[in-house]
């Protein structure tokens, strides 16, 4: 073929695997060509396990000059199950990065309210760490983290150290507690009465399961946030990542092209987006 195939992944090696929960593992991956991925927070890659297939996975590490990057993967489908069976040193395929990213430049000087529901912490972690590496560039940083149970909480050690930082406000909750849990119990919106914000300066950045958005957006608006101060990242079946295969379409929008990161104001009237 004269021109290159957009479906041809680059090879990459698994450098490290860290078990996060019974369902999720963190993979440290290094492209075999030694070049950094060049992603921005919020973007995703198409991951290949050869012989099984390909699926979209968001990048969880902040951009840096090193080639290694991180993906936190839930065991949920064929490819992610196969990925969970791989070992350090195994080779996978990577295409990307694809999609839109969190507006890290536009939000400089603003207060950031991160709303992470369950796996939503995975792409948000990229932005949170990016912002913390440039702490002076941003105003207040508030992180809300909700999980189903205490055992489902990702990045436990890392989040514990976040929670101790004086320059970051951290609130967490679980839907269902256990004997050891002393914290808040309830859905993520039960955290909203616990803090105040300046709605003019604050931007909410939310990632979570589909059901979370309706309630979290309503809670953010109740705090005075305008629609265009709410940023979401949406999940769809982004099979090709190229705006061709049709699976991630919501109305005329291809989530893999115009998303997955959207300004809420731009999609609030779009049929299928948040319904």
């Amino acid at each position: 073929m004269g021109a290159p195939s957009p479906y041809l992944p680059g090879l990459a090696t698994i450098m490290k695997i860290e078990e996060q929960t019974a369902m999720e593992k963190l993979f440290v991956v290094r492209p075999n060509d030694g070049k950094p991925l060049g992603h921005k927070p919020g973007q995703f890659v198409e991951v290949s396990v050869f012989g099984v297939g390909e699926c979209p996975i968001s990048v969880s590490s902040a951009p840096n000059k090193k080639a290694d990057f991180e993906m936190c993967v839930r065991r949920a489908g064929n490819v992610t199950n196969a990925l969970h069976n791989l070992k350090v040193g195994d080779v996978i395929g990577i295409r990307g990065p694809y999609g839109t990213h969190f507006p890290v430049e536009d939000l400089k000087g603003k207060d950031l309210l991160f709303v992470a529901g369950g796996l939503g912490i995975v792409p948000l972690r990229s932005f949170i760490n990016y912002a913390l590496e440039r702490r002076k560039d941003y105003g207040r940083i508030i992180v809300l983290f909700g999980a189903r149970t205490p055992a489902d909480r990702l990045f436990k050690a890392e989040i514990a150290s976040l929670a101790r930082r004086p320059d970051l406000e951290y609130l967490e909750t679980v839907d269902v507690g256990d004997a050891s849990w002393k914290g808040n119990v309830g859905v993520i919106t039960t955290l909203f009465p616990k803090f105040t914000i300046d709605p003019k300066k604050t931007y909410a950045i939310m990632v979570g399961p589909p059901v979370m958005y309706r309630f979290a957006i309503a809670a953010a608006k109740a705090k005075g946030l305008a629609d265009d101060h709410i940023i979401v990242s949406l999940e769809r079946k982004m099979k090709c990542g190229l705006g061709k295969c049709g699976h991630c379409q919501m109305g005329p929008v291809y989530v893999c092209q115009e998303g997955p990161v959207f300004n809420f104001a731009a999609i609030k009237n779009l049929e299928e987006a948040l319904s």
């Binding site: 073929m1 041809l8 012989g51 489908g77 589909p210 769809r236 079946k237 061709k244 295969c245 005329p252």
Partner: protein, 352 residues
């Protein structure tokens, strides 16, 4: 550009010459003879031919559109070793002449060209397209469910290498590309069309259009995007989709449906594998289903509605084309007869 004439007997010689030069020629075959179903009137299908007599240029519509040669139902994209070390992209090598494509199908191909050449380009499609020669034929026979005359698809201005019109005693030929011009040189005894013959072509086209007008939209197809606006909650989506089997036939036979799935297949020795593209359809129940079980279009009515919006509005908003060319295939093939765009769109227009 002036029009040429190929005599009727010259056409057979032309096709024979193309075959003699070792071209792979795909033509329309009349399959009425092969059907074993009593009372089945048969169907037309595109297939490679070995002699000119195997193909016909007098057909109403083929069962499957010519997209199957540009976006094959099963296409190898990549090959790899399972213990990775090498992975490479596959490219189509064969050159193909598709002989006998109606204007509505050429318009559909033009739309696919736009979709796959939009950045990021899909070079697998584009490479195959580059290797394909399209020889069009104006529609004379009209399929019972066709409505291309009301979709602006009765004639086509470009996208073909040659375009033939059967005016009875001979074919008028429009040359659409350099490739077409050099191919035409292989045809025997061609000559320039006389003004009367050009007029005759207009007449043939007008008559076909008139026959097709028997089944038509009650309004201009250009109104479709605005007509659909605000009809998201119309009762028709629930009502009609109650009969939907979610079989995806409407997607399968549609010349402008190009959605696909990609899957890996492994060789029997478990050493090598390939990544392959297959057709997919938005009417199938798990089309928008993600790992973990969530389905972003889990309701049948939503999938049914999605298709009509995609045809009449979404593709238009993205690429500027109404993605229905009026071939009538979905309408004719749908097992429960709920796919007819004319019925759906006219009802929305009536506002009931």
């Amino acid at each position: 550009m002036s029009l040429a004439i190929i005599e009727k007997e010259g056409l057979h010689l032309f096709v024979a010459e193309l075959l003699r030069q070792k071209n792979t020629v795909v033509g329309v075959k009349d399959q009425s003879a092969v059907s074993s179903i009593p009372g089945d009137s048969g169907f037309y299908t595109y297939a490679p031919i070995n002699s000119p007599g195997e193909m016909t240029l007098s057909f109403d519509v083929t069962l499957i559109p010519p997209k199957k040669y540009l976006l094959p139902a099963y296409e190898q994209l990549l090959t790899f070793n399972l213990s990775p070390g090498s992975i490479k992209a596959d490219a189509p090598k064969e050159e193909l002449i598709i002989f006998g494509v109606h204007p509505y199908d050429i318009i559909a191909i033009n739309q696919m060209d736009k979709v796959f050449s939009a950045v990021p380009q899909d070079n697998h499609y584009l490479e195959r397209r580059k290797r394909t020669t399209i020889i069009g034929i104006d529609s004379v026979k009209v399929a019972p469910r066709a409505f291309w005359s009301s979709m602006g698809a009765d004639t086509v201005a470009g996208g073909f290498d040659l375009m033939l019109t059967d005016i009875g005693q001979c074919y008028v030929v429009d040359v659409g590309s350099k490739k077409g011009a050099s191919l035409l040189k292989m045809a025997p005894r061609t000559r320039e069309a006389a003004p009367a013959e050009v007029k005759e072509r207009d007449k043939v086209r007008a008559e076909a259009r008139k026959r097709c007008d028997a089944n038509r939209l009650s309004f201009s197809y250009l109104e479709l995007p605005s007509l659909l606006d605000g009809n998201e909650e119309h009762v028709i989506w629930e009502e009609k989709s109650h009969l939907c089997f979610s079989c995806g036939t409407c997607n399968l036979v549609c010349p402008t449906c190009y959605c696909f799935d990609v899957r890996d297949d492994v060789s029997i020795d478990l050493k090598k594998g390939s990544r392959n593209r297959t057709w997919d359809g938005c009417l199938l129940s798990d089309f928008a289903r993600v790992a973990g079980g969530g389905n972003f279009r889990g309701h049948r009515a939503d999938r049914y509605r999605h298709r009509f919006y995609r045809k009449g509005q979404f593709i238009y908003r993205r690429f500027g084309d109404i993605a229905c060319v009026g071939c009538g295939r979905c309408s004719a093939q749908c097992p429960s007869d709920i796919a007819d765009p004319v019925a759906v769109f006219n009802r929305l227009k009536e506002g009931i």
